[in-house]
């Protein structure tokens, strides 16, 4: 099979180089000028694009009232204060396992999607795909459809071409800037940051981030496009390993299509030609510029635009749709053997898909459960070790500790800390005087903060070194509690 083009995914090119040293090892990438197409899958892509871009650009602007002590941005990654807000969920750094859990869910979600609908992520939802699609529409808007763009690329550099290119790249830059600009909104209060950004008062990091993301968006989406999928992205490789005969793929049904021949030829020689009329529509609409008729390949992101194109042609010439269609290898074999085509949704019903769904759902429920039962008040204690204990003039023994009281609610809370398991023990702090020493003390912990304070614990003369705990109780209707164990040091053998 000697393919006419030498695309790198055509391995015969490489073997030929090895044996004959005739072809160059590589060639510069050819720009893909994909043709406009309309159809159910294209419309679905539009919808996905609208939703994903809408989520990306719109989310930071959603407001969410959390009371006077917390930001009112629905989704906010507050790096300065180390808080992550997502609607009514607030995550502190020590709860980062929630984020880890979300990432694991995202990973398994990709497995799940792959096992159910193949490379649907690549074809519809991947940011690279969405932005590439966006930039290709810009190309179409400025330079016209495929043929016009091919001509434009080949045309000599005239003022007209130059001005069109400048215009196009300006749009690229605006899209890139908008992308970077939306990104930083997730890290600060969006309306304030917008004002600060345009009045030059935002942090240098904001400007640098926008600059870098503008650059990467324009480079990756505007220029590298399918090269990213083919050469840079590891996901297609991983997916190749996850594919099996039950995976949904965009498949050219070669047994139905081959040998190819025009409508006229087929009319002249009935029975000799397949359904494919070699109109090249499937190649021309492909955003990554591949020929699906060569079989499954790494460049195919399964966006199904070729299905739209082929179905349209088949409808025009009065042949049944689905010469190119979503199908599994198993379905293809069955269909080839003359059995009726199985509806695509049946391909979803398989143990692997169920197993992934189960794992994914279990992790999700686990996270939700953990989120529901987590405490919003914590205590931790560290004993001062220099000196470990202090003998007082009346013979009693004093230890000091640094305690941290964590209030994760967005309102100030009163918390009581009580000594437990230290007979005769009394405590006071730097702000609560020695005269008010008592077995328990009350602290006012500011909203959404950790109060760190040094406490002195005194036990009567003769107290031996022992373990004891500091018990925390919130003095509100929730009455959350937590306790921390520590050691009381005293003169003696240990």
């Amino acid at each position: 099979m000697n393919s006419p083009n030498n695309r790198p995914d055509d391995w015969s090119a490489f073997t030929k180089v090895k044996t004959e040293r005739a072809d160059p090892l590589y060639e510069s990438a050819k720009t893909v000028h994909n043709k406009r197409i309309d159809g159910p899958f294209r419309r679905f892509k539009w919808l996905v694009m609208l939703v994903t871009l809408g989520i990306y650009y719109g989310t930071p602007w959603i407001r969410w009232d959390r009371g006077p002590y917390a930001p009112d941005q629905a989704v906010l990654i507050d790096l300065a204060n180390r808080r992550f807000y997502m609607f009514n969920i607030e995550i502190w750094p020590h709860e980062f396992y929630f984020v880890a859990g979300l990432l694991i869910m995202a990973g398994i979600g990709l497995f799940l999607v792959t096992s159910a609908v193949g490379r649907a992520w690549c074809g519809y939802a991947c940011p690279q795909t969405v932005w590439t699609d966006l930039f290709q529409h810009v190309d179409r808007f400025v330079d016209g459809d495929r043929n016009a763009r091919v001509r434009m690329e080949a045309a000599p550099w005239t003022i007209a071409k130059l001005s069109r290119r400048v215009f196009k790249y300006m749009i690229y830059l605006v899209i890139g800037f908008w992308t970077g600009g939306a990104w930083i909104m997730y890290f600060a209060d969006a309306p304030t940051l917008t004002v600060d950004f345009w009045t030059g008062q935002a942090a240098m990091a904001a400007y640098i981030t926008v600059a870098i993301l503008t650059l990467t968006t324009v480079v990756l989406g505007g220029f590298m496009r399918e090269q990213v999928c083919v050469y840079m992205c590891p996901w297609p490789r991983i997916q190749t390993a996850m594919m099996d005969e039950k995976s949904l793929l965009v498949t050219y049904k070669d047994w139905r299509g081959e040998p190819r021949g025009s409508v006229k030829k087929a009319q002249k020689n009935p029975g000799e030609f397949g359904d494919c009329i070699d109109c090249m529509q499937c190649v021309q609409v492909c955003p990554t510029g591949i020929d699906i008729r060569e079989g499954p390949q790494i460049g195919c992101i399964t966006c199904a635009l070729c299905i739209d194109a082929c179905d349209k042609v088949m409808a025009d010439i009065g042949r049944p749709r689905g010469l190119i269609d979503y199908a599994t290898l198993e379905d293809c074999e069955a269909e080839q053997a003359g059995q009726p085509a199985r509806p695509a949704w049946k391909a979803l019903m398989r143990p692997r898909t169920f197993a992934y769904t189960l794992i994914w759902g279990a992790i999700g429920l686990g996270l939700l459960f953990a989120l529901g039962v987590r405490s919003h008040a914590d205590i931790s204690v560290a004993a001062d070790r220099n000196p470990p204990f202090m003998l007082m003039s009346d013979g009693s023994v004093r230890n000091s500790y640094t305690i941290k009281l964590r209030n994760m609610e967005s309102q100030p809370r009163r918390m009581e800390v009580a000594l437990s398991g230290l007979p005769g023990g009394r405590m006071w702090t730097e702000t609560i005087s020695n005269d008010d020493a008592a077995p328990s003390q009350t602290f006012e912990v500011p909203a959404d903060q950790t109060l760190s304070t040094r406490v002195y614990v005194m036990a009567p003369a003769g107290t031996e070194a022992q373990e004891f705990t500091l018990d925390l109780t919130t003095l509100d209707e929730q009455r959350e509690s937590d306790s921390a164990a520590t050691k009381f040091d005293a003169p003696g053998d240990n």
């Binding site: 005739a22 160059p24 220099n386 013979g395 730097e430």
Partner: protein, 313 residues
């Protein structure tokens, strides 16, 4: 084909081109594998030239060449020492307001301002680590062996309110040349008491904190010789720096031998005055820090009538 290429390498005058790449051969061959004379990538060369230009600019702007006496200075006049002092003076400026506030607040009023107290304690902690840890230890726990007092406990020889601590810091203890220094001396009783008397008085002193049985002879000797400073009940006298003998804290140890030695051949400590060595703000901050260590006492005006205080309670 290999043989031909091998023979070609012997005559480097003839240029041979590798067809697939269009690059010239270097002429080296190993078992049929030949080296191509691939030119440097253009971007690499440009990067290299840029670094050369950069280095020249850098050498002009910044100190670069080591000479015999000192290095070249660079037209910007930058030095690492200069940068440090600049940063230090910036840090000093940032602290200036706090230092001014501390300077303008009488020491006994500082605890009334929680925020100011916190800053004073923090500054004192830093100064303590530089000036005080050599004797009092990094945890301010002192050393019984060496006779440096523990600053964490509630036993104070000269008073434990913040003003008294500041006074001790300013004038020191037994500091020669300072008229206001805290001065006292435990006289040596070697030769005054005989062995039995010394034992008896040790018994009595230890009995004050119930470490020994009462001793009538010792009690009598104590009342005659010691009570004038240490008090009839042994609770000491801060005005003279006479330690409390009835408590659990012993600067030089509570064994019979240690107490006996302290009566017959007493050790006497010395604390340097810090006035003149540290500025008054740092001394205030140190006082606040030491006071904060857990044993600090409340300031009572009547106890310090000699010191001028604002009218406010």
């Amino acid at each position: 084909m290999m043989a031909n290429e091998g023979s070609d390498t012997k005559t480097p005058a003839t240029k041979r081109i590798d067809e697939p790449t269009g690059t010239e051969f270097v002429g080296h061959e190993w078992d049929g594998i030949e080296e191509l004379d691939t030119p440097m990538p253009r971007w690499w060369l440009w990067t290299f030239y840029l670094t050369v230009i950069w280095s020249v600019v850098y050498m002009v702007l910044y100190p670069a060449w080591p000479l015999i006496e000192k290095g070249t200075e660079g037209v910007l006049g930058w030095t690492s020492r200069g940068q440090l002092s600049e940063e230090m003076s910036l840090a000093d400026q940032a602290r200036a307001t706090v230092r001014e506030r501390i300077a303008g607040t009488p020491i006994e009023r500082i605890p009334e301002d929680a925020e100011l107290l916190q800053k004073a304690v923090a500054g004192g902690a830093a100064a303590f680590k530089v000036n005080c840890v050599q004797c009092h230890g990094s945890g301010a726990a002192g050393s019984q062996t060496l006779g440096y007092p523990n600053l964490n406990d509630d036993d104070w020889l000269w008073g434990g309110d913040i003003k008294a601590i500041e006074y001790t810091l300013i004038h020191g203890i037994r500091q020669p040349g300072d008229d206001a220094t805290r001065m006292s001396a435990m006289p040596p009783y070697e030769g005054v008491f005989d062995d039995a008397q010394a034992d008896a008085i040790v018994d009595h002193v230890l009995s004050l904190s119930r470490k020994a049985r009462p001793n009538a002879v010792g009690a009598g000797l104590y009342q005659t010789n010691c009570a004038s400073c240490h008090g009839v009940d042994g609770t000491g006298d801060r005005a003279q720096g006479a330690p409390n003998l009835a408590d659990a804290i012993w600067l030089y140890g509570d064994s019979r031998g240690q107490v006996r030695q302290q009566i017959l051949r007493p050790r006497i400590g010395m604390m340097p005055k810090w006035e003149g060595r540290l500025d008054s703000v740092t001394i205030k901050m140190l006082a606040a820090y030491v006071h904060s260590l857990g044993g600090g006492e409340d300031f009572v005006e009547a106890a310090n009538s000699a010191v001028e205080v604002d009218e406010q309670p």
